[in-house]
C-alpha cells in the first residue's frame, strides 16, 4: 500500500491541474494548468516502469545483462513531452488571437462563442 503512493501522487497532480482549469480567470493561467495536468501522466508512466535496483537503460558503459528500468515507458514519455509543447504553442497562439478580437483574456467575459 505504501508503494502505491507514487500512483496516488500522479492522481493528486491531475486533480490539482483540473481544479486550476475549472476555476481559472485568465486564459494563459489555464494553459499553464493544462501543462501541469500533463506532467501527472509523466509521473504515472515513470513510476509504473521503475524497477528496484535498476539503472538507466543506456548500455554505453555497462554490460548488457545488468538490471535496467523499463525503456518502453520512457519512449512513451518522450512523445508525451513533445505533444505538451505543441499543444501549448497552438493554444497560446489562439489566446493571443482571442485577445486581439475580444480585448479580454477572461474566459467568463469571452461571449463571442455564445452567440
Amino acid at each position: 500500500m505504501i508503494l502505491h503512493v507514487p500512483y496516488f501522487i500522479a492522481a493528486w497532480i491531475f486533480l490539482w491541474g483540473l481544479y486550476g482549469i475549472v476555476t481559472s480567470k485568465n486564459l494563459v493561467h489555464q494553459v499553464v494548468c493544462l501543462a501541469v495536468l500533463q506532467t501527472s501522466t509523466y509521473v504515472l508512466l515513470l513510476t509504473v516502469g521503475y524497477k528496484v535496483g535498476g539503472t538507466a537503460p543506456v548500455f554505453a558503459d555497462i554490460p548488457v545483462g545488468t538490471t535496467v528500468v523499463d525503456p518502453l515507458v520512457q519512449a512513451l514519455m518522450l512523445t508525451d513531452i513533445v505533444v505538451e509543447a505543441t499543444v501549448a504553442a497552438l493554444l497560446l497562439a489562439m489566446v493571443v488571437k482571442a485577445n486581439e478580437l475580444a480585448n479580454t483574456i477572461d474566459p467568463e467575459e469571452l461571449r463571442i462563442l455564445t452567440g
Binding site: 508503494l3 543506456v58 548500455f59 497562439a93
Partner: protein, 252 residues
C-alpha cells in the same frame, strides 16, 4: 453558471474521481516491482540487433519509428497552425525587414550582452553534439534541436535585433523544417524501395559504440533535429515579429 456553483460541482466530482483513481491504482503492481515482459525482451535484444547502445532511442527511432513519425508531424502541423493564425491581415502583406543590419542593437547592459554572446557558441556545439549522438548517449535529435533553437533567442536577449531578424526569417529555417519532416518520410519510403517494410533499418549497422553505427537511427535522429530546430525557431520568430519590427522602425 457562476464560479461558486462550478467550484462546488467540481469538488464533488473530483472526490468521486479520486475514489475511482485510488481503487484503480490499487490493482497495479507496487512501484519497483516491474513484471512486464516487453521491457526485459527489449533490453536483452536491442544492443545486438541494432548495434545501438541507447535502448530508449532505439525504441523511438527503430522499433516504434512509426509513432515518432506521427509525433514529428504533430510538431509540423502545430507550427503550420500558428503560422496560419498569425498571418498578416493587411493587404500589403508582411513587410520583410530586408534592410535589417547586423549592427542594429538595443541598449542592453554589458553583463547580459557579453554573457549571452559567450554562451551562444557553446550552446550551438552542444546542440549538434546531442543531436548527432542519438544512438549512443541519452538525448537524441529532438533535445538537440530544441537546444539549437534557443541559440537565436540569446541573440535577441543580447540586444542584437538585426542579426536575430536576419537569421530567423531567412529561407534556410523554413527549408530546414520542411526538409527534416520530409526526410524522415523519405527514409521510410526508401526502405520500401529497398524491398523491406516501411521504416525498416536497412542500412549496414556498423559496430556498436561508433558514431556511424546503427543504420537509420542516426540518420533519423539528425533529420528530427533539423526539423525541430526549424520549427521552434519559426515559432519564436512569429511571436517576436511585431516587436522586432517596431524596434527596428524606431531605430531608423
Amino acid at each position: 453558471m457562476n464560479l461558486r456553483a462550478r467550484t462546488t460541482l467540481f469538488l464533488v466530482s473530483a472526490a468521486a474521481l479520486a475514489v475511482i483513481f485510488v481503487l484503480a491504482f490499487l490493482d497495479l503492481p507496487p512501484m519497483g516491482d516491474y513484471r512486464g515482459p516487453y521491457g526485459y525482451v527489449v533490453t536483452q535484444v536491442a544492443v545486438y540487433e541494432r548495434h545501438a547502445t541507447d535502448v530508449v532511442n532505439a525504441i523511438n527511432y527503430d522499433y516504434r519509428a512509426f509513432d515518432t513519425l506521427g509525433e514529428e508531424f504533430i510538431l509540423f502541423a502545430a507550427v503550420l497552425g500558428v503560422l496560419l493564425l498569425f498571418r498578416p491581415d493587411d493587404k500589403k502583406g508582411h513587410k520583410r525587414n530586408s534592410n535589417a543590419q547586423e549592427q542594429d542593437e538595443l541598449p542592453v547592459s554589458d553583463a547580459l550582452r557579453i554573457s549571452t554572446q559567450a554562451i551562444m557558441g557553446l550552446m550551438i556545439v552542444f546542440g549538434f553534439y546531442i543531436a548527432t549522438h542519438g544512438q549512443l548517449t541519452p538525448g537524441s535529435g529532438f533535445q538537440g534541436g530544441v537546444i539549437l533553437a534557443s541559440a537565436p533567442i540569446l541573440l535577441y536577449l543580447a540586444g542584437n535585433v538585426g542579426a536575430f531578424e536576419k537569421i530567423t526569417s531567412s529561407a534556410l529555417v523554413k527549408v530546414a523544417e520542411c526538409g527534416g519532416a520530409g526526410g524522415y518520410a523519405i527514409i521510410g519510403i526508401s526502405a520500401l524501395l529497398a524491398g523491406t517494410h516501411f521504416l525498416t533499418n536497412f542500412v549496414p549497422l556498423g559496430t556498436t559504440g561508433d558514431l556511424f553505427s546503427s543504420g537509420t537511427i542516426a540518420v533519423i535522429s539528425v533529420c528530427v533535429g533539423v526539423e525541430v530546430t526549424g520549427g521552434f525557431v519559426q515559432l519564436t520568430q512569429i511571436y517576436l515579429r511585431k516587436i522586432v519590427e517596431a524596434e527596428l522602425r524606431k531605430k531608423s
